[in-house]
Symmetry: none
């Protein structure tokens, strides 16, 4: 199975860390593989401890549904088609920005999840991680 | 390690209890340290038993994200950037007023959480606790 | 209902703390009321963070079954009549020494739970708490 | 605050990875700080996905009780003083070898947790991590 190696994850995390440092917001960054299982996680010094779990869950969610958590969130507001999805899967579904799928040859092979700032900041750091892949 | 000692926690709780007695609303009051771990908790006579857990979770949440639960709540309503955060971290995230971070030399070193009345009452008792620190 | 007041809990905790200090082992000490609900908890400086939950669960268990957790533990070993009880009640049942019921006029009205040392130490500190009641 | 930085964690993980590679057994390696919160995790290519959680829990357990999970396990067998501890703390207590506390100036400031091989292998890789600290 074409998936994310630890070397891939480290390259993605390095790119995300660089962006987080640039914007001055310490972050939790997590990478999962094609099975949604964690490959690597880092918490930058000073990043929120409550975001450890969220970064991992954002990565898991993005792979689990092959979608960014930002887009999933838009569809999970009250009245929207996926409202309630955040209560499934034992609390692992994150519906706010910061998780983005990782694709290779048109196939989703993993995901990156970022948590530690505003939704916009988290998403932009995740995008930097994807670019590093 | 700069964190909350039991003596600190008792001083904070005493100040919060005094305020709760003044406003005539018995409260649960909890204090956590820099790692989010409980240092002390009291339930005043007559306070809600369902608020034991909530006071501890409010304290944890405020330290976990370095923010008051009142402000976090404002950002976690439907359509806001953190909507869904209350489903993360195994149910420990409280998004209504009553949790406030405790800072020393500009660094968050713990938090106090209060539950037992209205959101306004909980927050004001937590503020009294912070002032006692 | 005759139960444990916060003042009772503080007297119990003070007696337990005194004993813990004497034996030189920092402890977590928790007191629950007749309903098994937490009245107060303290973690002495340097006590194990993993014992926060355990002290509360030992107190809950002792009230829940009106028995010391030491005695319950003897009956919960493999082959004994209560083996498996530790998997019930959502993980709140503690089956090792440190929890003791609090009785008044022959009725169990609460319990104290202690965690932070060996089983023998925890039990002796809990006994000191009971004596303080 | 004297705790584990991300740089510390990376040095510990690098030393543990080197050992795992030497013995030819891919591992999950996790490092937590003084509050028991995750600082970093890696899963080497080919390491068990069921060990992601275990490595993190071993690290948490070692900090939570300031003891190696190997020693805690010896005290948690049927008939021993801590039998039942594995059912506390919401399933986070690991009682088999692979978790070791990290100390600085005589104080436990974090822990490393390793999972992916036999108990002996996990413990030796964790020891290599400690040596790297």
């Amino acid at each position: 199975m074409t998936s994310i190696t630890l070397e891939d994850a480290r390259r993605i995390i390095a790119a995300a860390e660089k962006k987080a440092t640039e914007i001055g917001q310490p972050m939790n960054i997590a990478v999962v593989d094609a099975g949604g299982n964690l490959v690597a996680h880092v918490r930058q010094d000073g990043a929120w401890i409550g975001s450890v779990n969220i970064s991992i869950n954002k990565a898991w969610t993005s792979k689990a549904f092959d979608i960014s958590t930002k887009d999933l969130g838009d569809n999970s507001q009250p009245g929207q088609q996926f409202f309630g999805i955040q209560n499934t899967n034992g609390g692992k579904v994150a519906i706010f920005a910061g998780g983005i799928p990782l694709s290779r040859d048109g196939e989703v092979v993993g995901a990156v999840g970022v948590s530690g700032g505003s939704g916009e900041q988290d998403h932009s750091v995740a995008e930097a991680g994807v670019a590093g892949f």
